[in-house]
């Protein structure tokens, strides 16, 4: 297993913000993590990268997972180029006190090329579109060469071209044997994943999309934030209100 989580409860000093979570992600799979804002998705990711210790239970991931933040959580006024950001991935190899090596630079350029932004290497990160910034952060994770990637709402606020590029890239990464945990509010995107984990301050459900993405589970996951779009003979469809609509 690439990710193994057993009976984990997580919090920030008070009551747990995420309680009793247990799931495992086989190597080379994509797990969609669904849940409302404040439901515990980012908290789970913080624990998986080692920033947060569990109150109870245990969790393990193969290697050091890469974390791709929402671009809204990055400082757009900080004057670094797309290449500088991709190059930050090489910090995972240690040697933080030394300048980046030539091989690191070549790796960063290659990663930018892979996300379709080779020509934007010298453009300031804050001047790129939301989708391009997301792709640069994915390039940083590629430079890190992690076996497990944690992507925090990578398609939120992203233009269609970038979204297609990102989803195509997810397929490539999976075929390379990397495991992706993708937090999202997008039901259609979740349906295309191998597994779905539903969180709302606790684990609501975990399993294949066909088993998990039913009306009852989605209502338990999103509560009043969900609007069901029932069509006879079709799988349950829903929109998470207040999030990115699809």
């Amino acid at each position: 297993m690439a990710v193994e989580v057993q009976g984990v409860s997580l919090g920030y000093g008070g009551a747990p913000v995420l309680d009793r979570v247990s799931f495992s992600a086989p190597t080379g799979t994509t797990v969609s993590v669904l849940g409302p804002n404040g439901g515990g998705k980012t908290t789970l990711f913080r624990a998986l990268v080692g920033e947060l210790s569990p109150i109870a239970g245990s969790l393990a991931a193969r290697g050091r997972p890469a974390y791709v933040a929402q671009t809204e959580r990055t400082r757009l006024d900080f004057p670094v180029s797309a290449l500088d950001v991709a190059l930050m991935g090489s910090l995972a190899g240690g040697r933080w006190w030394l300048p980046a090596r030539g091989s690191d630079r070549r790796g960063a350029r290659s990663a930018l090329g892979r996300v379709g932004l080779g020509a934007e290497a010298n453009t300031r990160f804050g001047e790129l579109s939301g989708g391009q910034r997301q792709r640069v952060l994915i390039a940083r994770a590629l430079v890190q060469d992690a076996e497990v990637l944690l992507l925090d709402e990578p398609l939120t606020g992203v233009d269609r071209a970038s979204a297609e590029h990102i989803e195509e890239l997810f397929g490539e990464l999976r075929s390379e044997g990397r495991t992706l945990l993708v937090s999202t509010h997008d039901m259609d995107s979740a349906r295309r994943c191998d597994l779905v984990l539903c969180l709302n301050r606790r684990q609501v459900a975990f399993g294949a999309p066909g088993e998990v993405l039913g009306r009852e589970t989605l209502e338990q996951t999103y509560g009043s934030e969900i609007v069901m779009l029932d069509e006879p003979g079709q799988p349950a469809r829903a929109i998470a209100v207040g999030h990115h609509h699809h």
Binding site: V49, T74, R75, F78, V80, W97
Partner: protein, 286 residues
Amino acid sequence: MEVLDLLLEPWRSGIGRRALVEVILLGLACGALSFWVVSYRLSYPAESLGHGLLPGLVLAALAGAPLLLGAFAGVAVAAGAVALAARDEDIGTDTATAVVVTGLFGAGALLALAPSAPARLEELLFGDPLAVSDADLIVATALLAGGAIALLALHRPLCAVALDAGGAGALGVSRGWTRAALFGLLACTLAVAVQGLGSLLVLALLVAPAVAVGGWGLGPGRAMGLGAGVGAFAGIAGIYASYHLGSAAGASVALALCLTAAAGSGARGLGHLRRSVAGPDPAGSG
């Protein structure tokens, strides 16, 4: 020849020469560091520590001990007191800092104004680059060398945490340690630079250069280099003004730094105005 004489004259006396070398060394060290002080929004903590270390300076002056020792002790006490007060979540960090720093500053002034105290309060508050000794220059040189090594070593973690603290943590870069290292460097720099510009004016060295060069899209390395140049240039300009106009040296340096920052800020404002008057780029930048 007259202009050349004006330029060379301060260098001909030992006092003027030492003052110029001191402000060049401090300008280079603080000018480079100022980029990170502004990027990490540490201007207020820097000002607080600069004011809060006054009791340490005064006690060192009263005891006849080196001011540098007093400055280091003062910074340590001020930082500890601020950290302790900030634990009271009911009043908030800013308020706690303001109360502690004002208290420390008042205590320092009280000590310095005691009848038995030597009349040095003015120098401790506003600095006096003309009074620096060879030992001060050695300490400033050590600060510049040590600061340069620290900034080079910390460059990549500082960039990673400044851009995206959560992502940096996943790369194995501790945001807590990175911030603590920067804060430690800031405290050491304050303790040394306060000898030249005093407790009240030292902040100018740690903020004005970054303000002068910020907003032009320069990367961190270039912004630090240019900030160092601006710090040294404004320091020299201040000493020249003091020498030829007979003004207080510390205040002249601080004023030159602030004028440089204002000039940079004004130029940026003009640039924005020109772009808004010209309207959007017809070619479209995407």
